[in-house]
């Protein structure tokens, strides 16, 4: 959407209240969804729960293709469709629900910077591990991504996605990295997040913000997803305050409504150990 159209939609959005029938679309939980998509989806779910906005989660095979930007998850609210955490945050802000209003300018700058850090490092590392590492791509990513489709479509779609991701990685200079270096980058990112969090309950004051939702989405997914090796999860487990942060958010926002955040899919257990 061009900027003018976005502003127009924002105006319309501000006029209507949040409907009960709001739906969040993501790929199938058990067979299809991959690590990076699950992290993004969980981040959006956590954010909406923090704003106390009800949303139903609907799993569709073609969620990625339905989405206006090609990325999952996306929400269908009233007669608008918005995808990805950034635009969804702006959309809910237009409706009057915002978690970061109490922050001053410097804090808002920090929050945006840390969100970019998570997107830049954690999300890119997740994509790299899924699609550029040959073992993971062959054993997990390609079979899962193409599971709903029959041959030859499954082959074509899986390889097309892999080619797209690899092209993007080489454009940003990650193609030359080894898996070890990627794990090292993830460790450094988690160390930065851990140092920023310190002993606080949430990243800013006592109230959660979209940064908390984003970090929760990624860290929880990394910890509860089984890949070909446990190295990634082990690296993250070193930072105990991030672990307790995830547990706290899970207990506060997900268990009260008796909804498990989709962690039963190919994971070791339903919750964090």
């Amino acid at each position: 959407m061009s900027l003018a159209a976005e502003a127009f939609v924002g105006q319309i959005a501000a006029a209507e209240p949040w409907p009960e029938s709001a739906t969040l679309y993501q790929p199938l939980n058990d067979e299809q969804i991959l690590l990076s998509d699950n992290a993004s989806s969980l981040a959006v779910q956590a954010y909406l729960k923090m704003c106390s906005l009800p949303v139903r989660v609907s799993c569709r095979v073609n969620a990625e293709f339905m989405s206006p930007s090609g990325k999952v998850p996306f929400i269908h609210v009233g007669n608008q469709v918005v995808s990805e955490l950034g635009p969804i945050v702006q959309f809910t802000k237009a409706k009057g629900f915002s978690l970061s209003e109490g922050l001053d300018d410097v804090q808002r700058a920090e929050m945006k910077a840390y969100m970019e850090l998570v997107n830049n490092m954690l999300l890119t590392a997740e994509l790299y591990i899924q699609w550029c590492d040959d073992t993971t791509a062959a054993e997990i990513s390609r079979p899962r991504y193409s599971s709903p489709y029959s041959w030859p479509l499954s082959h074509i779609l899986a390889y097309q996605k892999q080619w797209e991701v690899r092209r993007k990685m080489s454009a940003i200079g990650w193609a030359g990295k080894s898996l070890e270096q990627v794990y090292e980058d993830v460790s450094q990112c988690c160390q930065a997040l851990s140092q920023r969090l310190g002993t606080q309950l949430y990243f800013f004051n006592k109230q959660p913000t979209e940064l908390d939702a984003l970090v929760f989405g990624h860290i929880f997914t990394i910890l509860t997803t089984r890949l070909t090796s446990d190295e990634l999860a082990e690296r993250v487990k070193v930072y105990s305050n991030l672990l307790s942060f995830c547990k706290r958010i899970e207990q506060t926002f997900f268990e009260e409504s008796d909804q498990s955040p989709g962690s039963s899919r190919y994971s070791k257990g339903p919750t964090l150990t």
Binding site: L3, G70, V106, E110, L117, N119, N120, K168, A192, R196
Partner: protein
């Protein structure tokens, strides 16, 4: 470190030690950390097409890419971040990620993809600094690399056309510059009175934008409104990159009149407040429809070549 380290980078112009923003990052950090780096510009050599710039040579090993070079310098005990707390180190990483994601695409676009700037400034400069026959290939290759990077990272549907991507990356970049300006506030450097690696990164990204004589520079005009960032650039250039650097700034500022200092702070606060109000006005949904009539027209004027 008996033998100085050698840095290969693009040469300088427009009052800057180098026109290439990655090389500037390394040069600035080297000055902040007190490293003895001898600069070898690759202009007019065949390295313009063979080498990845910037490149640091020391004792037989070669390091490329600013982040890796900075890590290498830190391992050689040339650490400008020594006095930072853990939280400040984490903030550094976060702000560098912000610069990479939000500002870099717009910078690449301003210099390499925007038709007016490319034809009037970037291509002539790089072609004149490359040997024959490379001057035919080097600018074109850089431009296509820049375009492919922008389209691959930011150009997912529905932003399939370049004009829609342009709108998005420029608004992201302006927001990023505003955020940096808020973070810098009235202090001289980002963390106190001594420059650190974050200052090097910000300087490297902003200085070419500030100093280059761009013909169509909406981002440059936006930057010029953020006076504390421009001041930051000038201070770094004056203190670290002139032939006879003046005495360290704190020594000079001590005898300054206390009233003058208060007045300067008030003026800065005023301009920050006006910036904030302006941004709030621009970003509030009620006011957008009025301005959005002007904006697409203005954008299309900027992005179509004359």
């Amino acid at each position: 470190m008996a033998t100085p380290m050698e840095l290969r980078c693009w040469g300088g112009d427009w009052d800057l030690p180098s026109v290439h923003f990655e090389s500037l990052i390394v040069l600035a950090y080297g000055k902040f950390a007190g490293a003895k780096i001898s600069v070898k510009p690759i202009d007019w050599t065949w390295r313009t097409i063979t080498a990845t710039v910037p490149e640091l040579h020391f004792d037989g090993c070669t390091v490329i890419e600013p982040t890796k070079i900075l890590n290498f310098l830190r391992k050689q005990r040339l650490n400008a971040d020594y006095e930072l707390t853990a939280k400040q180190g984490a903030d550094t990483m976060a702000y560098i990620a912000l610069l990479e994601e939000k500002l870099r695409p717009a910078l690449l676009h301003t210099f390499w993809v925007d038709a007016e700037n490319y034809i009037n400034l970037t291509r002539p400069w790089f072609a004149s600094h490359s040997p024959f026959p490379l001057n035919f290939f080097v600018p074109g290759r850089q431009a296509s690399l820049a375009l492919s990077r922008i389209m691959l990272t930011k150009g997912e549907s529905p932003y399939c056309t370049l004009t829609e991507v342009e709108g998005k990356i420029y608004s992201d970049a302006k927001e990023c510059l505003n955020l940096l300006s808020h973070r810098l506030g009235t202090s001289q450097y980002f963390f106190g009175n001594t420059p650190t690696s974050l200052d090097a990164f910000v300087f490297g990204y902003i200085a070419p934008l500030h100093k280059a004589p761009l013909s169509s520079g909406q981002l440059q005009q936006h930057l010029k409104q953020l006076s504390n960032l421009c001041q930051f650039c000038n201070v770094v250039l004056k203190n670290f990159f002139t032939e006879n650097p003046p005495e360290p700034p704190p020594a000079i500022q001590e005898p300054v009149d206390a009233n003058l200092q208060k007045l300067t702070q008030l003026v800065n606060k005023e301009s920050n407040l006006i910036e904030k109000m302006d941004d709030n006005l621009r970003s509030s949904p009620q006011h957008r429809p009025h301005r959005s009539d002007h904006r697409p027209a203005a954008r299309s004027k900027n992005s179509t070549p004359a």
